[in-house]
Subunit: 191 residues, 2 copies
């Protein structure tokens, strides 16, 4: 069984992505983590804000690993891009439309109200776009175009997560994946 | 000065889109609306949930008007698509990164926790995609492709709203607009 600290982060992550940051209380976190109430303040003296920051940065690293796993196993970056969207669609459907982006709900909630958490979400989003940009550049796409494609991919996926959770239908995730992947393939052909 | 009911909806809309649904209390709504506390339950016996649903559906209608204004004033749907993204980028920057999608934050917060509000956000998102689809079809694009382009446009804009609010930079909104607009122009050329 995972340590108490790890269970707190894991439980918080699930609660934040399913119901948001504001709706989640420390009491609910300790219950879900099966941890004693005091342990939260032992590990996170900054309380819910500190847990939020840890969850954001931890999710950020986790998703970089996911990008690596999918891109390193694909024959080319256009196929990998489509595979990533298909995997995302599968996850959203399997989780009954609960698990999409791990930090989008929190990011929108805090963007205008909490600079510490806003900065953490910005760092993570930028790390994903930067990682994707590097992969497109490594595949031979020019630097500026690679960055634009990475931004488009991020935006299309995040928007499709929103639409699919609201409508309980993952079609838009697959549609977005086909478009972005086709745009990447067009660039590869221009090399 | 607007009537009390209208002021409540207007104030709630601003609070929900800037800080989210869960963070906003009825007390804050009446203060911001300059309305007596009891008036909320007079106009909205269902309390905050009923206000939430009204705000979602009212914002949905408002944005259909905005789509109409921009598309009816543009020379073609590809230009209109880009104009819509540029207008969105301007609004986000002007509002100090607070005003992006009027209902995205609430939509993510309620997707797995409140069926009444989830359904309202789904109806509104689908009404935007359907309206855009009709405009692309009217411009000569085939039905299925028109729907895919409308979905892509919606997703790219919503994701760019998220990224721009987190990073305090509207570049991604403009980038997304260029891509979607180019995809629409490519389809127009194929007619």
């Amino acid at each position: 069984m995972a340590g108490t600290r790890e269970r707190i982060v894991d439980a918080s992550s699930e609660l934040f992505r399913r119901q948001g940051f504001a709706s989640t209380g420390v009491k609910q976190i300790v219950e879900q983590a099966n941890a004693p109430f005091g342990s939260v303040y032992h590990f996170f003296p900054g309380g819910k804000e500190q847990i939020g920051e840890e969850v954001v940065r931890w999710s950020g690293a986790l998703y970089l690993d996911l990008i690596a796993a999918i891109f390193d196993g694909a024959p080319d970056v256009a196929t990998a891009t489509n595979d990533f969207f298909l995997g995302a669609a599968w996850t959203v459907e399997e989780s009954d439309y609960a698990d999409a982006c791990p930090i989008a709900t929190l990011a929108l909630e805090v963007a205008s109200t909490n600079e510490t958490l806003r900065t953490a979400t910005a760092d993570v989003f930028e790390s994903w776009v930067a990682d994707l940009t590097r992969r497109y550049i490594a595949a031979g796409i020019g630097r500026r175009r690679a960055h634009s494609l990475a931004e488009l991919g991020f935006c299309a996926l995040e928007g499709a997560f929103l639409l699919s959770r609201a409508t309980r239908d993952v079609t838009s995730i697959k549609t977005a994946g086909r478009f972005v992947s086709a745009a990447v393939r067009d660039e590869l052909r221009r090399r």
